[in-house]
């Protein structure tokens, strides 16, 4: 669907945990980005979840746009 934007999803299970990048959702606006993130990645009882549009991230050491290589394995 046009006007869709990718949102990167971050979450942590406990207050003392660091945020992990847990996935990506596609949504037509930020409201739906938040809702889709919460409803798609419901495998844990998250202490905190946050989303940011993929295009808000700036590359630091590589030429490619961030996240285009897929999420880094975290376990």
């Amino acid at each position: 669907m046009k006007e869709e934007r990718l949102y990167e999803v971050f979450a942590r299970r406990n207050r003392e945990d660091r945020f992990e990048h847990i996935g990506t959702v596609s949504a037509p606006n930020p409201d739906l980005g938040r809702v889709y993130a919460w409803q798609t990645y419901d495998e844990a009882k998250w202490f905190e979840m946050a989303v940011a549009p993929r295009d808000a991230f700036d590359a630091v050491n590589r030429d490619e746009a961030p996240f285009t290589l897929g999420p880094v394995a975290t376990s």
Binding site: E4, S26, A27, P28, N29, D31, V35, Y36, Q39
Partner: protein, 284 residues
């Protein structure tokens, strides 16, 4: 009107004054049936929604609604109902869900109308039970409303998305008007006796008119911003630009009765919500 003190909470249905007891049992059944059948309407769109994510959201909302309905049906044991019979043994005419959800939403804007207007009407009703003198209900309300917050945001996000084009606004207008009229009425007439009994006994913190005002404050700004023309701001309150009609209203079932109403959920909906195909597997 003397409000009953909330200091002495009720923990059992048998402790409730008679009028409030009947009204509480009716209300819990109305909410349980609406959640059970609305869950079915969300589940109709798990496949075929406008995006994969929207389908996942429908799946999550369907599961939420069924979880809520299960809890509500089980509460009715204390009101001398048999929860297993309520869930699996009733005929269509005994259901108390809104007539809006008797059949599937035949397009996505209609589902979003149910998502915004009917689901929020129920949340407004639950919020009014959040400090209920009848403890078994107020303990359940908080978690339920945490989940409902995302249903509301889903609906708001889709209204915003669809109202971005004239074609989308037109589709929303057509879908929203009948749902709007029915949801306004769902809270009951100004002189609604069951609603007054619940407020009098401090089971709910407001009656029909005040709940309708709260609902209008919640959904009015959204439909107004989307250009749907159903609500207008009036100071810090919101009023409906459409009048409510009360012909054949059934206060206990919260749906039109007699010739003004249908006979309840359609055959396919009834078979699914009752779990007819799983009848031989029922363990309790």
């Amino acid at each position: 009107m003397t409000m009953t003190s909330k200091t002495d909470a009720w923990t059992k249905a048998a402790q409730l004054p008679e009028a409030a007891r009947a009204a509480t049992g009716d209300l819990i059944l109305v909410l349980a049936d609406n959640k059970r059948v609305l869950g079915m309407r969300y589940s109709d769109w798990i496949l075929g929604a406008p995006s994969v994510e929207a389908g996942i959201a429908c799946s999550a909302m369907a599961q939420d609604e069924w979880g809520h309905s299960r809890i509500l049906y089980s509460m009715l044991r204390d009101f001398d109902f048999d929860p297993a019979h309520l869930e699996h043994g009733r005929e269509a005419g005994e259901y108390r869900n809104s007539e809006l959800i008797d059949s599937p939403a035949d397009n996505w804007p209609r589902l979003i109308a149910l998502n915004l207007l009917l689901d929020t009407a129920m949340s407004v009703q639950f919020e009014a039970l959040g400090a209920s003198r009848f403890e078994p209900i107020h303990y359940k309300v908080r978690k339920l409303l945490e989940e409902e917050r995302f249903h509301f945001e889903h609906a708001r996000g889709w209204v915003s998305r669809l109202s971005g084009t004239e074609a989308g606004r037109q589709a929303l207008r057509e879908a929203f008007e009948p749902v709007w009229v029915s949801c306004l009425r769902w809270f009951g007439p100004s002189d609604d006796a069951p609603g007054a009994a619940l407020a009098e006994a401090a089971i709910a913190d407001a009656g029909a008119d005040e709940l309708r005002r709260r609902w209008l404050r919640r959904v009015g700004p959204i439909v107004h911003a989307a250009g749907l023309g159903l609500a207008e701001a009036d100071g810090d309150a919101w009023t409906s630009s459409v009048a409510v009609e009360w012909t054949d209203w059934d206060s206990s079932a919260r749906r039109p009765a007699g010739n003004g109403g249908s006979a309840g959920p359609d055959a396919a909906t009834l078979a699914s919500v009752r779990g007819d195909k799983n009848r031989s597997l029922l363990l309790d």
